[in-house]
Symmetry: C2
Subunit: 218 residues, 2 copies
DNA sequence: GCCACGATCAACCTTTCGGTTGACCCTCCG
DNA sequence: CGGAGGGTCAACCGAAAGGTTGATCGTGGC
């Protein structure tokens, strides 16, 4: 049986070397290419596709320095920009905030692992992704489960998106412009957010959201 | 001539594997031990010291999940807790905020590299550290120079105190009550804080202060 | 088909915040 | 001694944010 062909996407040479060494030690896995950001990843995928050497799994970081970020890249891969059929994308990143996880899942990622995971867990996730299954880190899975049957009110994806802009210090007008909606809508969302988080102003909302890891920590 | 003996300290197995593979490819370097956090690093150093196999360079991450962070560990190593003479500590991390760099330098680090650096640069830095020299990533060096030329305005203790209450989501009235001062005074302080941080509202102030680690992160 | 719900927008009003000016007191330091 | 700088307070004004009501639209479930 042929090896599972993996593309590594991470802006840190150190991490790429680590994954190469780590995955190379396993039977049945081969790292066929690497990319330092989302744009390079798309190019690599296209190149390999036209060569008739398709990739079985993309292992992708989310934060990528200056280049195209992982969520954007995942969305474009899934849109078929680098050839059909689009390979499964397994996210491998450092953070596990609700915002990151939701964005990745919505972009079409088929798994979400954390970099502090033991090697064997990462290998299992790659195998699962190659088999068309979904693989979530235990911490991530727990977080998603908690979202489903939690007594606490659940924030919608849009509300979380707003919350993140809020945390950068933008005013309502600026947030409205960023999201291409009216200021009135921003205010409506904020009222909902305040209600769900049990606060009554934007700074308190940021504080609570950061503490509950609804948004990425500063 | 004997190899330079390196201790790796990083909470991510992936990163440790990468550094091990990367440094192992170079002549004159040997990774003799690894640790997943500051506490384990101190233990490893002590153990190797009593075995008569001292470490020449410690390669240390700053953010270390749950365990002891890199700055604290560096300080304690330099205090001689893991045996004298204390080996040089080279910081290898993802972030290059002023607060991180300054804290590391003050703790006694003899270098500060970023994880997105090319392998050769990291090798050079390890060699420099082993030789008792200082090695800074270009981006880090530039940042330090910039600080000297135009030193950032310094927040007073009272202003930082205010900033911390601000970050909990309190309004001006509540902050005033908490500090036993009038609301007018709170507003005066806020205007000063905004000026020093280069922002024009309280949420942006929190964002900037958290990023520069003027206040503790959420 | 209808209902629930999220997302969108508008109008209105109250409260808070941001920004300014000017003032007083204290301590540290040259 | 006298200035510099931090901390305190007041009054004022315009801008922004908070809060309410009500409405439309689309999607997904029953």
């Amino acid at each position: 049986m042929n090896d599972i062909r993996v593309l590594l996407v991470d802006d840190h040479p150190v991490v790429r070397a680590g994954l190469r060494a780590m995955l190379g030690d396993f039977e049945g896995l081969t790292v066929v290419a690497e990319a330092a950001d989302g744009g390079a990843a798309l190019a690599e995928l296209s190149r390999l596709h036209t060569l008739g050497e398709p990739v079985d799994v993309v292992l992708m970081d989310l934060q990528m320095g200056a280049g195209m970020d992982g969520v954007t890249a995942t969305g474009r891969i899934k849109a078929g920009e680098a050839g059909q059929p689009a390979p499964p994308v397994l996210i491998l990143t450092t953070y596990d905030s609700d915002a990151d996880i939701l964005a990745a899942v919505e972009a079409g990622a088929s798994g979400y692992m954390l970099k502090d995971a033991p090697p064997e867990q990462i290998r299992q996730a790659v195998l699962a992704a190659a088999a068309g299954q979904t693989a979530l880190a235990p911490a991530v899975a727990a977080r998603l489960m908690g979202r489903i049957r939690s007594p606490e009110p659940v924030l919608s994806a849009r509300e979380i998106q707003l919350l993140e802009l809020l945390a950068t210090g933008l005013g309502n007008r600026a947030i409205a412009k960023q999201l291409f909606i009216s200021e009135a809508t921003v205010k409506t969302h904020l009222v909902h957010i305040y209600g769900k988080l049990g606060v009554d102003n934007r700074t308190a909302a940021i504080s609570v959201a950061a503490q509950r890891r609804i948004i990425r920590r500063f």
